[in-house]
């Protein structure tokens, strides 16, 4: 099955936009992806192992929060999309200074 990686996260997947992964539950699929690309794990999961709240996961066009969350089964013909929130409108950003907080969920 296919996992679609958004532009903002491709820096963690050797610039790959699509990954081919054996089907299974969403948790298993994401597990395989983050085993292959450990840097991606920190972006997708908080320290307690939960999916971050600014990262949504869709199986085809449906949000897994309205299916069976990470227990949702993904079939070989399905597409899993990772969709993090994006702020950009590109006007004022240079003025806003973003600082990293201590790692929080």
């Amino acid at each position: 099955m296919k996992v679609l990686i958004p532009t903002a996260l491709r820096q963690y997947t050797d610039k790959q936009s699509t990954l081919d992964v054996p089907p299974g539950s969403v948790a298993e699929v994401l597990g395989q992806v983050t085993t292959r690309y450990p840097e991606l794990r920190k972006m997708l999961f908080s320290d307690d192992g939960k999916l971050r709240k600014f990262v949504n996961v869709y199986v085809n066009d449906e949000d897994i929060r309205y299916l069976h969350d990470e227990n949702t089964q993904v079939k070989p013909e399905d597409t899993l999309s990772i969709v993090p929130s994006v702020a950009g409108g590109c006007g004022l950003t240079r003025r806003a200074t973003w600082r990293v907080r201590s790692r929080s969920s």
Partner: protein, 388 residues
């Protein structure tokens, strides 16, 4: 709409009928639809990449009242995508530049300028005078503020967002559909998702997304077609693929759910983990200014300059530093000598601050972050270095 029930708004004169003839000959718009557009009051938050096409097309279409909130000034880096501004507008207020362009396109439009940052203190008051809010902002605190203010005031929020080659658009319709918080209950911690200034954006992308926002705004005004409510449109300009994801109203949503906990506007900088702009860039003990770096290099101090930008940025300009992009730093840290005094820099100082933190955690003790990055160097030390 009580404010605009004058005779003029109740009818179209011959000039207007001519101007909008390609609209009025369509049964889906007609005279009645054109009058709806004339009576409509749309607020665009931001006159930047998304706000440019959005307001250009809404003005051309004959939206009667266009409000714009912006406090920024046009600079050269805006011109690649913010097509409402021209080269001679650099240095002018975006509001004034936008107003001139819009008046030239359609002098019938009433333009209302709000030269301010949208805040929890002024948002509801500004929104009160408009029917539809179009979100052309570029940062999370304002996005959540626009969303919550729309939900609280019961007004639809026409949403667009862009990054590099990818964009999202939707209509968060307060009463009938999900809101932005149903989609993303919480923002990412600052620094976790790169901004356009850090990540770049293809100039036409805000054009594509802003025009989608304009289309949705006009459909909402006309009350025709299928609005993008409950659907998130994903645009990939490189693959030229448009995909649609389902959005659902979250019953537990803190602002539009069954038992809302957010009943008035909150402190959105705090919510998004951002300190105020003034307090945002303190020069920490371990920062070094560009002046100090220049002085120490001239003096012949043995400093190791580490550049943590990307290779294509290094090609634009560099200080001759050793290049290791921030993301490669963990696996290439062995290239660095912990006994040396290291000055880390990037474009503006954001990525290098992260790199410096990482190096300190990795046991490097003499690490400085170059405050303001190579941009500050170009501004204050060497004007031959291009800014980008």
């Amino acid at each position: 709409m009580a404010a605009v029930t004058s005779l003029q708004a109740a009818s179209l004169n011959n000039d207007e009928i001519l101007r909008y003839s390609r609209h009025v000959i369509m049964p889906e718009v007609g005279i009645e639809g054109q009058l709806k557009l004339k009576r409509a009051r749309v607020l665009c938050v931001g006159a930047g990449g998304l706000g440019s096409p959005l307001t250009l097309y809404l003005a051309a279409a004959g939206v009667g009242t266009l409000g714009i909130v912006d406090f920024d000034v046009v600079d050269f880096t805006n011109l690649q995508r913010q097509v409402i501004h021209g080269t001679s507008d650099v240095g002018r207020k975006k509001l004034d530049s936008a107003e001139d362009t819009l008046r030239e396109i359609n002098p019938n439009v009433e333009i209302r300028k709000f030269e301010t940052r949208l805040t929890s203190a002024n948002a509801l008051e500004i929104f009160r005078e408009f029917d539809i809010i179009a979100d052309g902002t570029d940062n999370f605190p304002t996005r959540y503020l626009v969303n919550d203010a729309c939900v609280l005031s019961g007004k639809p929020n026409v949403y667009g967002s862009i990054f590099r080659f990818e964009g999202q658009a939707s209509v968060f319709a307060a009463k009938d559909g999900p809101c932005y918080r149903c989609l993303y209950p919480e923002p990412p911690p600052p620094g976790m998702v790169p901004s356009c200034a850090e990540g770049g954006v293809l100039g036409i992308l805000p054009g594509l997304i802003g025009v989608i926002q304009a289309t949705e705004t006009i459909k909402l005004i006309l009350g025709s077609g299928e609005p993008l409510i409950g659907r998130l449109l994903m645009v990939d300009a490189l693959g030229m693929r448009f995909r649609e994801l389902k959005l659902r109203k979250n019953l537990d949503c803190p602002v539009c759910g069954a038992n809302p906990t957010v009943k008035k506007l909150i402190d959105y900088n705090q919510f998004c983990g951002i300190r105020g702009e003034e307090a945002a860039a303190p020069t920490s003990m371990t920062d070094i200014s560009v002046e100090e770096l220049k002085q120490r290099l001239d003096r012949g101090d043995n400093l190791f300059v580490l550049d943590v930008r990307e290779p294509h940025e290094y090609q634009i300009c560099n200080l001759g530093g050793h290049l290791i992009p921030l993301n490669d730093l963990p696996k290439r840290v062995s290239e660095l000598d912990p006994s040396k005094e290291i000055v880390v820099h990037c474009k503006m100082g954001g990525r290098s601050a992260k790199a410096a933190d990482f190096l300190r955690q990795s046991g490097f003790t003499r690490v400085h972050n170059l405050a303001g990055g190579i941009t500050a160097w170009a501004e204050r030390i060497d004007p031959k270095v291009p800014k980008y």
